[in-house]
Every structure is written in C-alpha cells, then in structure tokens.
Symmetry: C2
Subunit: 207 residues, 2 copies
C-alpha cells in the first residue's frame, strides 16, 4: 500500500468512528505515522481525502453492480437464482450475503458508518449513500422478484412491495447492529427468521 492509499485508509477509519469534523488532519497523519504537514504532499486538502474515499466507493460499486446487479457476487449466481429454483436456503444465502457484505466488508462497513453520519453535511455522500443502500438495492431486488413472479416461482404480488418486504428487515437490522458488531449472531438469527417467514409467505401458502 502506498502512503497515499494508507492515508485514505486511515482517514476512512477515523471518519467512520469520529466523523469528518471530529477527525483532524493531525489525527490522520498520526495514524499513518507521518507529520500532518507531510500529508499535504499527497492530498491538497482534508476535503480532497474525503472526496477520494467517496470516489473509491463509487468505483467499487460501479464495478460490482454493473456486472452482477448486486454488491456481493463475483458471478451471475444471483441471476441464476431468479432463473433457477428458489429455495429457502438460496434466499437465506442472498440475505446473509447482502447483510454481511454491508456489515463486514472492510471498506464498505466503514464507508456505511461514515455515510450515515455525514449524509446531511455532504450532498455527494447523500447521493451515493441513498443510491447504493436504498434505490439500487430496491431496484435490483424488484427486478429479481419481478422475474420470479413472471416465471411463476412465487405469487403475483407487486414486485416492488416484495422487494421492500425483503430488504427492509435487512436494512433495519443493519442499522440496529452496525454499532455492535459483537452481536452479529443475534442479528443473523433474527435475519434468518425474517427470511424464513418471507419464504413461507410467498412460496408455501396458497398462491
């Protein structure tokens, strides 16, 4: 990792715990192991570090979701779900994948915390946060459920309603447990119960 990358990395850690304003350039420099003045050889300002992080997140998501439509998969595995047979296990895998990706991915989890805190101070971060964690998540899952409905894998329900029913608990549990990663197992147990219920509603009952 270059010094420049190290600066952005330590800055993200600090921004995600102490907030943008709560982090001084000296804090970042200390974490990297250089003097604050040296940092300006790599970034022209504190804001520039922040912008670089936002851009990096933007690039990562673009790379992932342009191909798979989901911020989790290296393959078209999820598309396969839509076209193949959907089991409760594949739904559980999907929900856990989204949940744990947001909660545990080394970059994404820190970015998410920062985004939640800074969304109202920065229009760019508001846009990217709402796009990734709300609009695109719902849009992708709406497409997924629309396709499943079309192929008669589940009941004929408004796919957007299904998507919100599927994703909202993930989002809620994420918001609830983001600050307490040691309770991950509690969160996953709750998530599994929601997914089991979701599955039983749309696959097992009269449809």
């Amino acid at each position: 990792m270059t010094t420049k990358e190290k600066i952005a990395d330590e800055a993200l850690t600090l921004f995600s715990t102490k907030g943008y304003r709560g982090t001084s350039v000296k804090n970042i420099a200390d974490a990297v192991g250089i003097k604050d003045s040296s940092l300006y050889k790599h970034f022209k300002s504190k804001k520039h570090i922040f912008d670089t992080i936002v851009l990096e997140m933007h690039n990562r998501m673009a790379r992932l979701s342009f191909q798979t439509g989901l911020p989790s998969g290296p393959s078209c595995e999820n598309e396969a779900n839509a076209c193949g047979q959907l089991t409760i296990d594949s739904l559980r895998v999907l929900s856990r994948k989204i949940f744990l990706f947001y909660l545990k991915d080394n970059f994404v989890s820190r970015f998410l915390k920062m985004a939640v805190m800074e969304q109202y101070h920065s229009p760019e971060i508001y846009a990217v946060y709402h796009k990734i964690f709300m609009e695109e998540s719902i849009a992708y899952q709406t497409d997924l459920f629309r396709e499943m409905t079309r192929q008669r894998y589940c009941q004929a329900v408004d796919p957007e309603v299904m998507a919100i029913n599927f994703y909202s608990p993930i989002f809620f549990l994420l918001s609830k447990y983001m600050g307490e990663p040691e309770k991950e197992n509690t969160a996953l147990a709750l998530l599994d119960k929601q997914v089991a219920e979701f599955y039983s509603i749309y696959w097992n009952q009269n449809g």
Copy 2:
C-alpha cells in the same frame, strides 16, 4: 418561550442540519439574537445544551410511552386496536401515525436527524436513539401482535417476526425520505402499499 428554551430550540435546529461539531456557539447565539457570551448565562457549556436536548427527548418519550406504549397516541386507542377488531384502515392509521410522527413532529423529526448523525459520537444519544426508534418500537408492536394472535385476530406467527415485518418498512422509508420532506406523498403511497400487503398476508389468507 424563555431565552433558555429558545437557545435549546435553535440549537436543535442547527444540530439537526449542520451536526453538533458543525454548529458553533456563535451560530446558536446568532439564531437566538444574542451574543455568544450571553449564552453562557443560561448554559454552562455547549455540551450542556446538547445534554438538555437529549434529556428533553427522553422526558417526552417517557411521558408518551409510559401510558400508551406508543409515541403517537394521547389515549389507549392503540390498545383498543389490539383488543378490538383490526381493519386495514386501523393498520394504515397506525403505520401513518408512527411514520408521520417521526417525520413531522416538530421536536421528534429534528431530534431524529440529529440522533442519526451523532449516534456514534455520543453514547447517551446512541442509547436513546436505539431505544426509542428500534428496541421500544419493536417491543411495543411485538406485544400488540402477540395479543392479536392470542385473540385469534391473525395467524399464529412469531409476533416479533410480525413486528419486524410491520416496522421495518416504516423505518426504511423514514430513513429514505427523512432528508426529502417534499416527497412525503411518495413515501406515504409506498407505506400504504406495504401495509395493505401486510394486512392481506396476515388476515385474508389461509390462517
């Protein structure tokens, strides 16, 4: 309104838009119409203003929820729902009441925005935010659905699962539209669709 109340009120407005650190004592004093030094006759520090706001929220919720169990009702109307006949309209009323209370109540809506931003900087605000908007909301609705299930108004499903299914979309839509109050109608339309679906799942189908 006394000067002291006015200071706390303007501070809440500023904290909820610019954040705690983004708001200076001078900003608050300007909004009130006094000099920053005069402000220290009413509060001994900036932190003291913040603590007063958190305490005020705590008191408001204690007053409300100690009696009704819900941050919306002046009466036992909601208990009545549990004991009386639940219609799709009463569910819609309940969900809109919670949603609009959090989104529009003059004090609560500002506090919520501040809480989302400051939760990771202040253990007190983390506690009160998670308590009110997560634990207590779920606990109350779990009780509600448990009672309804007991009285056979709905299917025998884990009441906590039902509560999360009912509340998560409210929470998600709140998070999504909190920063764009002008889209309130879009949010309410989506909320109504979720509630209609929730109702049809637990009341109309085989149970």
